[in-house]
Symmetry: C2
Subunit: 312 residues, 2 copies
């Protein structure tokens, strides 16, 4: 189903997993009369041109934003400030400027000072992704039934917020609004800390003397492989997340470490009841996530049907 275009020209700065998925979804829904994109490397630009999803691939960000009604920065959080500074003088008055960064406080801090008075800054974070990256990794269904969090600064034009909300809704997302600081706390526990821990344990397993890497990989179906998926996420993106949401992640990490000590103590003391009670409680949380449609109810995330032959 396509709808009337919401925007004349949409400019995407960056065409990785998120930028590429927005382009594919917006194209499929007919949300923009024209989609322009830029990519940093000549190789990626050539690939994007070849894919034929967008109307134009341009070399510079300045050229991309010219006459655009909606500009979305789909780049690592650490690059948002410099790019905002670069494009600011060329933004069309009345345009909406947004991003897709996993950290919002730092993005607002870095971008807002550069933006001219006549444009509407509506930071956004679609809580969706996969472990893959690059121009070929995107797909139009990525945002369906996922949340997109908007964090408009106080006083932002309500019509601009509504228009961006309509855009995300049209490509399948559910939209919620909150402050940048609250966003950063929520994501610290639901995304950043899980990534930090997954990155840690996968690194730990790779450097043991007593157990070889080959053994770790062979016997990973006992649980470890679940961690490797998120520890395979884009390194640049995640470096920037941790550098830019340090305080909230450290706060959540403090609580996590206390809780890990408690469970460790129960194990050391042989307190089976404490372990059992904890494990029963966490099971209920999984059930809640499946019930609200934020994960698959199929065993093993449904990976059995994706990976193994149907019949022995």
């Amino acid at each position: 189903m396509t709808t009337a275009p919401l925007f004349q020209r949409v400019a995407l700065i960056g065409f990785g997993l998120i930028g590429g998925s927005i382009a594919r979804a917006a194209r499929a829904k007919g949300l923009a009369s024209e989609i322009v994109t830029t990519a940093r490397s000549p190789k990626t630009r050539a690939r994007v041109a070849e894919l034929g999803i967008v109307d134009r691939v341009v070399e510079t960000n300045v050229e991309a934003v010219k006459d655009a009604d909606l500009v979305i920065l789909c780049i690592p959080v650490g690059a948002c400030g410099p790019v905002a500074k670069e494009i600011a003088p060329y933004l069309k008055p009345g345009a909406i400027i947004s991003d897709v960064g996993s950290v919002k406080g730092a993005v607002v801090r870095d971008m807002a000072p550069h933006l001219p008075a006549g444009v509407h800054f509506v930071p956004a974070h679609p809580v969706a992704g996969t472990e893959h990256s690059g121009p070929d990794s995107g797909f139009p269904e990525l945002f369906i039934n996922r949340w997109c969090i908007l964090t408009p600064p106080e006083g932002t034009d309500a019509a601009a917020v509504d228009k961006l909300r309509a855009f995300w809704t049209a490509i399948g997302a559910k939209v919620e609004t909150m402050t940048p600081d609250h966003h950063d706390l929520v994501l610290a526990i639901t995304s950043h800390l899980p990534h930090l821990i997954a990155y840690t344990i996968v690194g730990t397993a790779d450097e043991l003397g007593e157990v070889t890497s080959s053994e770790v990989m062979k016997f990973s179906a006992g649980g470890f492989r679940d961690f490797t998926r998120i520890a395979a996420s884009d390194p640049t993106m995640w470096r920037d997340v941790f550098l830019n949401n340090k305080d909230a992640v450290l706060e959540m990490l403090g609580t996590f470490n206390e809780d890990l000590s408690k469970l460790t103590r129960a194990m050391r003391r042989g307190d089976g009841e404490a372990l059992f009670d904890h494990f029963t409680r966490t099971r209920a949380i999984r059930r809640g996530i499946v019930e609200i449609g934020q994960d698959s109810a199929a065993p093993d995330f449904g990976r059995l049907s994706a990976a193994t032959p149907k019949k022995p």
Copy 2:
């Protein structure tokens, strides 16, 4: 494809995810002339009878093992010792006694002293599972392309080991042999520590003051939901794993904590290069696991196709 029965009578003590999957797979492959099972609760026994997968459901373990050529304990690790003691006098001379426990040192310690000289004790651990449990959770493909680790005590009859190997191979598993102690170290890092950490962080997220449980669930697609799957595993089974593989888990936990401190320090000091290097290294491990066929290459484990509509 069915083969000639390897065993006349197979007795399964317990009909949960693993016992139920063994029954289904052995039945599908025609590996036993008769499969007898027991289950602790009347409710489960009634359900198993209703399912019609096994030839007989009996009330007592003693009755189940009578005249069985292969007895497999498919029960939590902590229950193996008492059950071995209970069934020992009734085992058929020459029978093979095995289990499926995730810890091997403790199982050997608890079971071996009870077993009579005339039977062959071949402990086993199929490294496979899902977050579901109970008599309906099993399926015949569970072990396909997964590893089953045998840890026969020194001096075990080679023909008995070969026969159990043939059984596991016939239901799709790849079989490897190692010592109980080495098994427990390997599993501590590939399975037990990942579970401990997942159980911890899911508990942490559930008890925060600043972020509600409802927010945690809504925005879980950013990474958290991957942890909830393994934190939904059977509480009794996992209580017993941690009580019985304490030393190896504590050793791995020590290394994990050191590594977590290192990454935390890099984050606190703003050392982007150290973070980037670490994140690049862990990505390679994921690739290795996918390459050897121990996980799906599909984005998000393939859960997208399992959970979301194909077309918007």
